[in-house]
Amino acid sequence: MRFVDEFRDPEIIARTCDEIRRLADPGRHYRFMEVCGGHTHAIYRFGLKDVLPSNVELIHGPGCPVCVLPMGRIDDGLTLAKEPNVIFAAFGDMMRVPGAHGSPLEHKARGLDVRIVYSPTDALKLARRNPDKHVLFFAIGFETTAPSTALTLMRAKAEGIRNFSVFCNHVTIIPAIRAILSSPDMRLDAFIGPGHVSTVIGCRPYEWIARDERKPIVVSGFEPLDILQSIVMLLRQLRDGTAIVENQYKRVVPWEGNKGALRAMAEVFQLRPFFEWRGLGFISQSALAIRAPYSAWDAETVFRVAGVRVTDPKAAQCGEVLKGVLKPVQCKLFGRECTPERPVGALMVSSEGSCAAYYNYEHRKATPVPSTNREPAPV
């Protein structure tokens, strides 16, 4: 398969791992945060920890939109779904995320009209097909999915479709990185930058991380070789004492981003003064709200939203795991009270959350695979 197989080539991967071993100073411990949940998933899915030297540690960041969504927002959305004649539409990612009284899937089982859609335009299609119903699209995601929500709202307005609204939970990545960097217990050396978000925002928004915080950042793709190559680039920067933004994912990410997508976002969205992140708390100017000209399609205007707040159990240490202070398995609840089937904390919710990824792919690997399988073949 093109654009997949060449990035999983065992020989090139083995060479890249050799390069990582050459560059990593054995007297030093490296802590790199991959910001994006897609990277977290890929790192576990491909077993990359097995091919990295033990002093190169990957810390899983806040870039899983499902995980960082506070439970109260899910409850608010599901409350709206209970209004008469409402069809609740959301991505598959959302379906198993528990609110205080169950997940969208559990509500579907109890009789609510819950539909899985693959894009916001599919939700708009549902609205066209069901003129006697109101379709509520539960929007989540970083800048990756926000433009498609924006374009859908523009289309709904242009076509005058009135039985459609968006419950907007879009968040932005930069304030989350800023929150992590300003945390006193932060101990990161560098960042693997989010690939999909950067297709929209480009690489410039990360420049302050390199300039002001002196942390290297490499925007990375999602195949094994992409991630390993990004690690090589970070290690080179650290060896040379530089801190710049680099783009490993050039085949997809333009340095300046996608101007059309950014224009659509600017047309439809404005920053909320603050927004709560599960595990991180309130972060100012970190989320998007729908602008006044589109308020007729804003579920928070169309309906009365209660603004429920549900705090996570004190015992859940999601914040510490998000900031890289604790590993998933070091949380008191991991694998006991908190599992992917019955998640207590944010990071166990989606397969892109670091706890769920660790649980699904790693934690029972107690006995290592025999060394013949472990080491890449020498080239």
Binding site: F46, Y118, F142, V369
Partner: protein
């Protein structure tokens, strides 16, 4: 309920409710069919309900699934399928042409599989109380001589064989629902696997330890059940697992794992190492078994887990499916 999608929830329902309340032999590993011995004749019986949307899809339909599914449950229990009973639950107002098409499909599938449909029942329920039609089939087969299948007989060093490419059925259904703007030249793999089972039994019966058809929940779920039942580790070599490019592509796009996707015409077998070559040769020589593959082996550690090794040296645990496979978008 998440209990219908195969995987963990189904297992919990069976282990937590059905076995304790209904079985007089709790603690026995659960197979695809139950064994019965009547006057010295060793039989296998099984029953299965079929619910699918849409009723017809590329490569098959609910009627064909209802025959092949039960035939396959008998086959992987090491039995030659003989006869089926069929029970229909029909929604009032279902067009008779739709029903007739499915009955014809069942007849044709039964003839191809060499089983007789010997009886049945029909219920019609109010419009809106079912989704068009449900079919349940019950099958009986005669166990092949010399075959003793039991997860507890699996030993470290045994090999895992897969009869052909995985994920065709599940991805075909996903695409046939038309909710994704995705198209692919794919057909459900629904078929009777008995001819392939017969080939492997003929070639390697004394070394054949365990078989299963990886339907809902996919290969990952079937092998996790095996790992739990035998307490050993199943190590898979990802590269040797046959997956068609179309299935792989759809899975990559949707964030799904082919190992979790349903199959309706494949089976897994665990074979003692000294019988592996003859089992593989027999499978590959049989029509429809050309793409059979040796996909892994049983080891002692890590206990009761399934591990997939990638060809560049990484590995991951693969668990049973939890609920339905849901695409990842954001």
């Amino acid at each position: 309920m998440a209990h219908g999608a195969g995987g963990k929830a189904t297992r919990r329902l069976v282990d937590g409710l059905f076995v304790p309340l209904l079985s007089d032999r709790p603690g026995e590993p659960l197979g695809d069919a139950a064994g019965l011995e009547i006057d010295g004749t060793r039989l296998a019986v099984t029953t299965d309900g079929f619910v699918v949307t849409p009723l017809q899809f590329p490569g098959g339909s609910i009627g064909e699934l209802a025959v092949n599914g039960t035939v396959n449950d008998l086959a992987v229990a090491g039995a030659r399928p003989l006869a089926l009973l069929v029970s229909f639950v029909l929604e009032a107002g279902l067009p008779s042409s739709v029903l007739e098409a499915e009955v014809r499909a069942m007849g044709a599938a039964a003839r191809r599989a060499g089983v007789s449909i010997v009886g049945g029942d029909t219920k019609v329920v109010e419009h809106g109380k079912t989704d068009q039609m449900y079919i349940a089939t019950t099958g009986v087969g005669r166990r092949l001589p010399g075959v003793a299948l039991d997860a507890r007989s699996v030993r470290p060093g045994d090999r895992v064989i897969l009869s052909g490419p995985i994920g065709d059925h599940g991805i075909t259904i996903l695409l046939a629902r038309g909710e994704l703007d995705l198209e692919a030249e794919l057909r459900s793999d629904t078929r009777s696997v008995f001819p392939l089972v017969e080939a492997i039994v003929t070639a390697a019966a004394p070394g054949l330890r365990w078989m299963r058809d990886p339907t809902r929940g996919g290969v990952a779920t079937s092998l996790n059940e095996l790992a739990l039942d035998c307490g050993l580790a199943i190590h898979l070599d990802e590269e040797s697992i046959p997956v068609r490019a179309e299935v792989r592509g759809a899975c990559e796009l949707l964030g799904l794992d082919p190992l979790h996707i349903a199959n309706e015409g494949q089976f897994l077998a665990v074979v003692a190492p000294e019988h592996t070559d003859s089992a593989m040769a027999a499978l590959r020589a049989a029509p429809g078994g050309e793409e059979a593959s040796l996909i892994g082996e049983v080891r002692a550690e890590p206990a009761a887990a399934v591990l997939v090794s990638t060809r560049y040296g990484g590995s991951r645990i693969i668990d049973m499916l939890v609920g339905d496979p849901l695409p990842r978008i954001c």
